[in-house]
């Protein structure tokens, strides 16, 4: 397996990105990226350096580009645009947030195009062959908790998508950078000296964002894992730790509502969610300290 950082130096990578493009693998997907924007390519090299290089001769799942926006505006307020297969599904972003645009754009590609999977809006992490699903709304602290678990030795599957191919009862890893927001950035920086964080991007639509690289083990280990624990986490500043079991029938409904494409999957979606709930213990978890939450979750995968 050839990794991005082994295959070329930064300068060659940036030149390739601005020309024929660069190919890299993220879980089951191959991404073909072209961008002439140096900062974007160099940050991909830095944060995805430990990912497997893609094969230009095989089919890429997503052909994406980050290009400078054209027009007179570029002289006043430079912008960048995200393209997928030559189409531009979003409004331009300010040029200095081109990397967050790339990451959000690839999220959009997965969420809208990977319909062969049941797609949960959840983080998934793994230890001892057991996948733990953290299913929650934005702002619940699931990405921060997933980051802390990864920095504690767990394998990151995703902080954003739980991908399960119906009929398998196995989650598929799609480990990408974790987009930490606002206070979470310093929380994670304090949590671990090993946190490989990219630069802060202030004034994005979600506030200040910084991207945490997936651990090297997470980046290249694409083995799937069966679910063992389903957690509905909720961060509350200053709250006492509270872990409360949830009956499986209401857990089913919460998880189905959490999925991006449950209804579109029809009976396959029903069976997939049922399989996850069947295989998992279910917890409502309220926490304010990451260490407490990690302790509770770890107890379930011993």
């Amino acid at each position: 397996m050839e990794l991005i950082s082994d295959s070329s130096n930064l300068d060659d990578f940036v030149i390739a990105a601005g020309g024929p493009g660069v190919f890299y693998r993220v879980g089951p997907f191959q991404i073909h990226l072209t961008t002439p924007i140096h900062d974007v390519a160099s940050l991909v090299y830095r944060l995805y350096g430990s990912y497997e290089l893609g094969d230009p001769g095989s089919v890429s799942d997503f052909h994406v580009s980050i290009l400078p926006a054209r027009g007179i505006r570029r002289y006043v307020r430079p912008q960048a645009q995200f393209f997928i297969d030559g189409t531009c599904p979003f409004d331009p972003f300010p040029r200095d947030t081109a990397f967050p645009l790339l990451e959000w754009g690839i999220n959009w590609c997965i969420g809208s195009r990977a319909q062969q999977y049941l797609i949960l809006h959840s983080a998934v992490i793994e230890k001892n062959g057991k996948a733990v699903v953290l299913a929650a709304e934005p702002g619940s602290g699931k990405s921060t908790l997933a980051a802390a678990l990864m920095l504690s030795g767990w394998r990151l599957f995703s902080d954003e998508f739980g991908l399960m191919r119906p009929g398998t009862c196995e989650f598929v890893p799609v480990p990408r950078t974790i987009a930490l927001k606002n206070e979470s950035i310093e929380v994670i920086r304090r949590f671990s000296d090993h946190a490989e964080l990219g630069p802060k991007f202030p004034k994005t639509r979600k506030g200040t964002v910084a991207h945490l690289a997936a651990s090297a083990a997470s980046a290249v280990d694409i083995a799937p894992a069966r679910p063992a624990l389903l957690v509905f986490p909720k961060f509350e500043a200053g709250a006492q730790l509270r872990a409360k079991p949830l009956a499986k029938a209401p857990a089913f409904m919460k998880l189905a509502n959490n999925a991006f494409n449950y209804a579109a999957q029809g009976e396959a979606g029903f069976s997939a969610v049922r399989d996850i709930v069947d295989a998992s213990e279910v917890l409502l978890l309220r926490f304010s300290r990451l260490e407490d939450a990690i302790g509770i979750i770890s107890d379930y995968v011993q």
């Binding site: 009956a247 499986k248 029938a249 209401p250 089913f252 409904m253 189905a256 449950y262 209804a263 029809g266 009976e267 029903f270 069976s271 049922r274 709930v277 069947d278």
Partner: protein, 103 residues
Amino acid sequence: MADALSNLFEINWHCPGVARWRLAHWSDSDETVLFDESSGQTHFLAPLATAVLEVLSDQPCSGGSLLDALSSRVEPAELGALRQQLADVVRRLEAAGLVEQWN
């Protein structure tokens, strides 16, 4: 109101789509999740609704017979409340297309 309730208990009810239902039920509660293939809808069934569909899935029966079948599960003092709750549940199941009137 009393007349409406009486009428409901005189009506025969059945579950015409039962063959196209997929059920998920776990031992940790009396609730059930039902996926209806014909509509593509997923329904969360509270314990009483679960019990109603159990009875009607076996065979069609009147609302009165349904009440008799479920009465053994509650204390005598709760029968009045059960009657009202049962009427509400049957109407909701009818609105969801899971039970129908049958003659």
